[in-house]
């Protein structure tokens, strides 16, 4: 049952919060679904550890960025569903633009093709 050594990326601090908020834009989801969605969408590059997922979800709930309620899952079981709040949506917008600026800056430095060609 050994785990295949695959190139999994380590999370930068605070990344998980953004990933969770972004996932919830698609609609309410429970913890397991959030983890699976992040994993699937990132083509298995990002693996969400349960040990960091639930603390993060509860922290976000405490900050009022997500709201939680018990609902029946599609298989009829009681599950804790997380929903994005207006506050969380606003937060996501700020975080997203920060991330885009950061990744653009990294890209400019790591691949300075334009400057080198000149």
């Amino acid at each position: 049952m050994g785990r295949k050594p695959s190139p999994r990326l380590e999370f930068l601090q605070g990344t998980l919060d953004v990933l969770i908020l972004r996932t919830l834009v698609l609609g309410p989801a429970h913890g397991h679904a959030i983890a699976k969605h992040i994993q699937r969408t990132s083509e298995d590059l990002l693996q969400v550890e349960t040990g960091s997922l639930y603390p993060a979800l509860h922290r976000l709930e405490l900050k009022g960025w997500v709201a939680a309620s018990w609902e029946l899952s599609d298989k009829g079981k009681r599950a804790r569903y997380y929903r994005l709040t207006p506050l969380g949506r606003k937060r996501l917008a700020t975080e997203q633009s920060k991330w885009e600026a950061f990744s653009r800056a990294m890209g400019l430095i790591l691949n300075p093709t334009d400057q080198e060609a000149q």
């Binding site: 397991h32 639930y54 009022g64 079981k77």
Partner: protein, 141 residues
């Protein structure tokens, strides 16, 4: 600010939150096991794999609880209680420490206030003795 109020209200329903967290994590386990069964594992194997994937159940519970508890404050209180306990177990040592601290602080304060008055607060003129204070003489009629 919102989070402080939420934290306060959560701490009043602690037992229920605890219970809910357990149920939430249990649901996660079941869901994971079910998915592994779909992927072709036998039931007991799937359950075991799910458990392994989740890691230490109690640890996940604990680290999640930290998010909504007053962990920092509670640990601080624990430390204070521990210190008081240790001190009362060893009275002589505590008294000695308190005495030496008191003497040390007292002596320092005394010496400092003495030095302060003669060195720091001396008048900012070259010959303080020649200073005079003019006063209006009262006219006697």
């Amino acid at each position: 600010m919102i989070s402080l109020f939420r934290k306060l209200s959560w701490s009043t329903q602690r037992r229920q939150k605890e219970h809910e967290l357990h149920e939430e994590l249990q649901f996660h386990l079941d869901e994971e096991a079910e998915q592994r069964q779909v992927e072709g594992l036998a039931e007991d194997q799937a359950t075991r794999a799910a458990r392994q994937d989740l890691g230490n159940f109690a640890l996940v519970q604990k680290s999640t609880r930290v998010a909504w508890s007053w962990a920092f404050f509670e640990q601080f209180l624990q430390d204070v209680r521990y210190a008081l306990r240790t001190m009362s177990n060893n009275r002589a040592f505590t008294a000695l420490v308190a005495l030496s601290l008191a003497l040390g602080i007292g002596a320092n304060t005394a010496i400092f206030s003495f030095m302060d008055s003669i060195l720091m607060r001396s008048l900012p003129v070259s010959d303080p003795k020649s200073l005079a204070r003019p006063e209006l003489a009262q006219q006697t009629t």
